[in-house]
């Protein structure tokens, strides 16, 4: 009995070991993540720049004194950084936010080219958090995903290939599999939970959720009366979304259906980008999907080990 249990435990251990640490992934997904994320961060900054003071300014749409009530004391915020800069260097709010914006921009550029990658990712992550916390009333899904991916850029060896760092420091080969597995597991949780949550709501089964998502005054202005004639299609789209998300974990991990499921998921995000006006969210999700599942793995030889980790 004991031997059976020990054998089973050994088998489980080997399976986990092989799944997490078998050196079969190339570095391509991780440098794609680094470059893609840096570009998205930069584009988002440029896009939101004209409204920066409205969203996170001390006298913005929601005063920082009011916004800070809901913010835990140990959290970094751009308001605290502005206070620090004005106290130490007598900078005005405009100068401080301008300076922070430039540092954020430069750190994103450094991240893209892979110069002092971990340090740039840390600066970018902290400033992103600071901006998001100051404007926490105006946050949505994309901000959490960018925070999480920047955090991954600090931990993962994203600067080991196609980077200035590699040119300067000549990194040795490393095992990328464990890091890519983290991305894969995280994505599977994201879609499974999202699909599961949608199954609870009746509106995803009768198409009303799709209609409501498409017809949001002030964001998208599709003609509701025209849409109402095709309610059958919305039922189909609603059910298809649930199936796509709920079964993502199964089909994306199965070799033969991986590319198809990845394609369908990316199509869903492109539709979201155009119809729900969420291009940054779509870009982040597509980037994550591509980095986690698109790139082929290395063909292993018989004595391939997981010693590099």
């Amino acid at each position: 009995m004991n031997i059976l249990v020990l054998n089973l435990l050994q088998k489980i251990r080997n399976t986990i070991n092989n799944y997490l640490f078998e050196d079969k992934h190339l570095g391509t997904p991780l440098f794609t993540l680094r470059i893609g994320l840096g570009i998205i961060v930069l584009l988002q900054l440029i896009h939101l720049m004209p409204d920066a003071f409205t969203l996170i300014g001390k006298n913005g749409m929601i005063h920082q004194d009011i916004a800070n009530i809901q913010l835990p004391q140990n959290m970094i915020s751009s308001d605290k950084l502005v206070d620090f800069l004005s106290y130490r260097f007598h900078f005005s709010e405009f100068e401080s936010l301008y300076l922070l914006g430039w540092i954020y921009c430069i750190s994103a550029l450094f991240l893209i080219v892979g110069l002092f990658t971990r340090f740039s990712a840390t600066v970018c992550w902290l400033l992103h958090l600071a901006f998001v916390n100051s404007g926490h009333f105006f946050t949505y899904g994309v901000d959490y995903f960018i925070t999480m991916l920047l955090f991954y850029c600090i931990i993962f060896p994203v600067g080991y290939e196609f980077s200035v760092d590699n040119y300067l420091f000549r990194y040795r080969h490393t095992n990328y599999t464990p890091y890519i597995r983290v991305l894969q597991i995280h994505l599977c949780i994201v879609y499974f939970v999202s699909g599961l949550a949608k199954t609870i709501g009746i509106n995803w089964w009768n198409g009303v959720s799709i209609l409501k998502a498409l017809c949001r005054p002030g964001i998208s202005s599709f003609h509701i009366q025209t849409f109402s004639k095709f309610s059958g299609i919305f039922v189909l789209i609603g059910v298809a979304t649930i199936i796509l998300e709920l079964l993502y974990v199964v089909f994306v991990n199965y070799g033969r259906t991986r590319k198809l499921w990845l394609f369908l998921t990316c199509v869903m995000h492109i539709v979201i980008a155009f119809c729900l006006q969420l291009p940054f969210f779509a870009a982040v999700m597509i980037l994550m999907n591509v980095c986690a599942f698109y790139f082929p793995t290395r063909i292993l030889n018989s004595n391939s080990q997981n010693d590099n980790f």
């Binding site: 896009h47 939101l48 409205t54 809901q70 955090f151 949780i189 509701i224 006006q277 291009p279 980790f309």
Partner: protein, 189 residues
């Protein structure tokens, strides 16, 4: 050693992601199926120890794992619209409009934030209601600052009512009406 560190990190990280999602999903089930606005067992269990709560919250916030992944679920909520009616010092109507932004993303962010007012209607907690009143007042003050002629504002919170029966003819329902007058205007009157 590196493997042990990695597995420890992965275990903690996945636990935080899953636990945050359990909290959100439990609250969604309570709200959607049982019609109850409660914190839920998962959140209450976390709040039992203040040290655990602080550590958990800090880790979740700093790593971006604090969110639940039930996007647009269980149901897509009806959009909330904030309509501001602006008047000058003599009480003449200037405009009726929603706050405007330069970028599309800022507009999306603002519209998403308005869902908090839906919580205000459903939430009977007076502290939360007072807080949301403060938020609304801040938005109105910002409107007055950006339009120097504007001395009085009526803020109407509307909901775009769209359900299975009203698809062909949706309507706006008024959730709340608030009036704000600047000190100058009050002094004049």
């Amino acid at each position: 050693m590196k493997k042990i560190l990695f597995i420890s990190f992965l275990s903690v990280h996945l636990f935080v992601i899953l636990y945050n999602n359990i909290i959100v999903e439990e609250q969604a089930i309570n709200k959607c199926l049982l019609n109850k606005l409660e914190d839920g067992i998962a959140l209450n269990a976390l709040h039992k120890s203040s040290v655990t709560t602080k550590l958990f919250t800090a880790y979740s916030k700093y790593t971006g794992t604090e969110t639940g992944y039930g996007f647009y679920a269980p149901n897509v909520s009806s959009p909330v619209v904030l309509m501001l009616t602006k008047f000058d010092v003599n009480g003449r109507l200037i405009s009726v409009e929603s706050p405007a932004f330069s970028s599309r993303d800022a507009m999306v962010r603002f519209n998403t934030s308005l869902d908090l007012f839906l919580d205000k209607v459903q939430n009977r907690d007076s502290k939360y209601n007072k807080y949301m009143n403060l938020v609304l007042r801040s938005i109105v003050m910002w409107t007055m600052q950006n339009d120097t002629n504007c001395k009085k504002v009526f803020a109407d919170i509307l909901i775009y009512d769209l359900n299975k029966n009203s698809i062909a003819k949706p309507s706006y329902l008024k959730l709340g009406h608030y009036e704000y007058t600047s000190i100058e205007s009050l002094a004049k009157n």
